[in-house]
C-alpha cells in the first residue's frame, strides 16, 4: 500500500530524513512513532504531496508520488498535526466544500457527508458553525473531512494532541473501526503506549532513520525473549543456581541475595519445564517471571542518543 524507499530530506545543511525506509501493507494500522524532531511530520508531508523530497521514492498503491499527483490525492486522506477551520461556515457546508473539492456534488455529496459525520459521531452538530466546535469535535471533523472521498490510505499526524484521555480513547476506537472497515491507516505519535494497543504494526523513527519496524506481536515476542527470567527462591539459592547452570538453554545468570536472573532462550513450554525441574528438586520457588519490558522502555532505549556521551567527552577533553 505504502512503500518508502531511501527517502531523504534536507533543509539546507540539516538532514531531517536520512535514507528512510518503510512499508505499510494494505489493511494495516501502522503506528509511526518517534521523539520530537525525529522527522514524522516531514515524512507525512512528503507522502501527502505537501513537500518535495530531496531524494528517494514514495509509492502509494503502486504509484510513485512524484508522478500522477491527481490519482494520488484521491487515494490519500490527510489529517495534519495542526490545522484551522473556516469561520462563517456550517459543518455540513464544510464537508460539502471538500466533497466538491474532490469532484463529488449533489446527492452523492450529501450522502457521503452524512456517512462520514455518522462515522465520527458529529451528525447532531451538522448545523453548527465549524469555528464554534470544541477542539475535540474539530479533530473529529477533520477526520471526517479526510474520509469524504473514501481514500484507501489515511495519514494522521499526531491526532491526539490537545484531547482529553477519554476523547483520545474514543478517537482510537474510531480509528480501529475504520481499520476493520478496510482503511489502511498511518498514524504518527510520540507516545508509543497509546498506539501499541490499536496498531497492528509499528515503526520507530529517530533522527530521520527507521530504527525498528514490524508487526507489533512479533516485536513484543522478540523483546520478551531477550529479557531474563527472574526467579526468587525462599532458600537454597546456590542449589538453584547450580541447577540452572546445567540447563543448556540458560546462557547467563546473575545472583543477588535470593533473586536469580537467568537469560533463558527457550520457549514458553520449556520455561514451564524449567520451573517444574526446580520445584521437583525441592527448591522453594516463590516467584518465577519474565522481566516485563514495555515497548516504552524499548522506545527509550532505541531513541537514546549519544548526546550525553559527547557532552561528557567534550567536558573531559579540556
Amino acid at each position: 500500500m505504502l512503500k518508502i524507499e531511501n527517502l531523504c530530506k534536507r533543509f539546507g545543511d540539516f538532514t531531517a530524513l536520512d535514507h528512510l525506509n518503510m512499508q505499510v501493507d494494505k489493511g494495516e494500522l501502522f503506528g509511526f512513532v518517534g521523539p520530537n524532531g525525529a522527522g514524522k511530520t516531514t515524512t507525512i508531508r512528503i507522502i501527502s504531496g505537501l513537500l518535495r523530497a530531496t531524494s528517494g521514492e514514495v509509492w502509494v498503491n503502486g504509484m510513485r508520488t512524484s508522478r500522477n499527483t491527481k490519482k494520488l490525492k484521491e487515494s490519500i486522506g490527510y489529517v495534519p498535526d495542526t490545522f484551522g477551520v473556516y469561520d462563517n461556515l456550517k459543518v455540513s457546508e464544510y464537508l460539502e466544500f471538500f466533497a466538491a473539492a474532490y469532484g463529488i456534488y449533489g446527492k452523492k455529496a450529501s450522502s457521503r457527508r452524512d456517512e462520514v459525520l455518522e462515522k465520527v459521531g458529529l451528525l447532531e452538530q451538522r448545523e453548527m458553525m465549524v469555528d464554534t466546535l470544541s477542539r475535540g469535535m474539530q479533530q473529529r471533523l477533520c477526520l471526517a473531512r479526510a474520509l469524504i472521498h473514501r481514500p484507501e490510505l489515511l495519514v494522521l499526524d499526531e491526532p491526539g494532541t490537545g484531547l482529553d484521555p477519554r476523547t483520545r480513547r474514543a478517537f482510537r476506537r474510531t480509528l480501529k473501526d475504520l481499520c476493520e472497515e478496510g482503511y489502511t491507516i498511518l498514524i504518527s505519535s510520540h507516545i508509543l503506549t497509546e498506539l501499541s494497543d490499536i496498531c497492528t504494526s509499528i515503526g520507530i523513527i529517530d533522527m530521520g532513520k527507521m530504527v525498528l519496524q514490524g508487526q507489533i506481536d512479533e516485536i513484543m515476542l522478540s523483546i520478551e525473549a531477550s529479557n531474563p527470567l527472574l526467579i526468587t527462591v525462599f532458600r537454597d539459592t546456590d542449589r538453584a543456581a547450580e541447577l540452572l547452570r546445567r540447563n543448556p538453554l540458560v546462557t547467563r545468570i546473575s545472583i543477588e541475595k535470593n533473586k536469580i536472573a537467568a537469560h533463558f532462550t527457550g520457549s514458553r513450554e520449556e520455561e514451564a519445564e524449567l520451573l517444574r525441574e526446580l520445584v521437583e528438586a525441592g527448591i522453594p520457588v516463590t516467584s518465577f517471571v519474565r522481566e516485563q519490558t514495555s515497548l516504552e522502555t524499548l522506545f527509550f532505549h532505541l531513541t537514546e542518543h549519544e548526546q550525553e556521551v559527547s557532552v561528557f567527552e567534550f567536558e573531559s577533553g579540556i
Partner: protein, 293 residues
C-alpha cells in the same frame, strides 16, 4: 456545470460575514448619496431653468462611475491580499492543497469571489444609472462597456492582490504591498511618463529648442498598464468629447495617428487582462508545494 468549490465556499462565508455586509452597505450609501445629490441637489442649487440641466444625469453617471472605480480600487486589494495568506495563517491551506483542487482552481475561485463584489456594487448602482438612461445621454451599450471595464479592472487589481498574497507570508505585508503596487500602476506609471517628458524638455532646451514640447516616444504606452487611464479613456468616449486621452498623450508627443492611443481603453483592457493572466499563473506556481525551487 458545477461552481468552482472555492468560489462557492467564499460566497457562503462572505454572505454571513458582517464586515462584507457593512462594506456593501457603505458603498451603496455613497452611490445613493451621489444619485440623490445630483438629481435633487443640483436642481435646488441652480434652479430648474438652468440651460445645462440636460448635463445633470450625465454628470451623475460620471460621478457614479468614478465612485464605482474608486471602490473597486480601494476594496479589491484589501479583499484579495488576504486570500492565500489568511488560509496560510489560519492553517487551512495545507489541507486545501492535498485535495484535488489544483492551485489554479484555488486562485481562480478566490478571484471570482472578489469579482462578485464588483458585480454586487455595479448591480446596486444600476437603478440610479438606469434613471440616467431614461433621461438620455447614455445608452445601454455604454452601460455594458462600463461594467465590463469595471470587471476587467477588478480582475487586474484582484490578481495583483492574489499575487501579493501568494508571495508574502503575512497578510499585513501582502495587503500593504498590494496597495503599493496598485499605487505604482495608477500614479507611478503617470509619474514616470511625466518625469520622462520633463527630462526630454530639459534636454531639448539644452540643445537650444525652447518650444516646451516633448517627445518621449513609446514610453507613453506605459499608461496602458494604468487601470485608471483605461477607465478615464472609456468615460471620455462615453460622456466627454472622446479626445481627452488623445490630448493627454499628445502632451508627450504626437500620437494623433496612433491606432493604439485612438483605441486606448480597448488596448489597455487587453493588456491588463494579459498581465492578469501572468499574475495568476505566477501565483499558481508559488502555491504549488512541489514546485522546484
Amino acid at each position: 456545470m458545477n461552481l468552482n468549490p472555492v468560489f462557492d465556499k467564499e460566497i457562503k462565508r462572505n454572505c454571513r460575514s458582517m464586515k462584507i455586509s457593512w462594506i456593501v452597505f457603505g458603498c451603496n450609501l455613497v452611490l445613493g448619496t451621489i444619485a440623490v445629490i445630483s438629481f435633487f441637489g443640483e436642481g435646488v442649487i441652480h434652479g430648474y431653468m438652468q440651460t445645462d440641466r440636460y448635463r445633470m444625469p450625465i454628470r451623475c453617471y460620471m460621478m457614479m462611475s468614478y465612485a464605482l472605480f474608486l471602490m473597486v480600487a480601494l476594496l479589491i486589494p484589501g479583499i484579495t491580499a488576504g486570500s492565500i495568506s489568511l488560509e496560510r495563517e489560519k492553517q487551512t491551506l495545507d489541507v486545501l492543497l492535498t485535495t484535488n483542487l489544483n492551485p489554479w482552481k484555488i486562485i481562480t475561485g478566490k478571484l471570482e469571489a472578489s469579482l462578485s463584489m464588483v458585480f454586487l456594487l455595479a448591480v446596486s448602482a444600476m437603478p440610479a444609472v438606469a434613471l440616467v438612461m431614461v433621461f438620455g445621454g447614455v445608452g445601454f451599450l455604454d452601460l455594458i462597456a462600463l461594467v465590463a471595464l469595471l470587471v476587467i479592472s477588478g480582475i487586474f487589481i484582484g490578481s495583483l492582490g492574489i499575487l501579493c498574497s501568494a508571495l508574502f507570508k503575512r497578510t499585513t505585508l501582502a495587503t500593504l504591498m498590494a496597495y503599493v503596487l496598485l499605487i505604482f500602476f495608477v500614479a507611478g506609471t503617470a509619474a514616470i511618463v511625466m518625469i520622462a517628458s520633463h527630462i526630454n524638455v530639459l534636454q531639448n532646451e539644452a540643445a537650444g529648442l525652447y518650444d516646451g514640447r516633448s517627445d518621449i516616444g513609446g514610453l507613453v504606452y506605459l499608461l496602458l498598464l494604468n487601470p485608471f487611464a483605461s477607465f478615464f479613456s472609456l468615460l471620455s468616449g462615453q460622456v466627454g468629447n472622446g479626445r481627452e486621452m488623445l490630448d493627454i498623450c499628445n502632451a508627450f508627443g504626437d500620437y494623433s495617428q496612433s491606432f493604439v492611443v485612438n483605441h486606448f481603453s480597448v488596448f489597455a483592457a487587453g493588456i491588463q487582462l494579459i498581465l492578469s493572466g501572468g499574475f495568476i499563473a505566477l501565483s499558481g506556481a508559488l502555491l504549488n508545494p512541489l514546485r522546484k525551487k
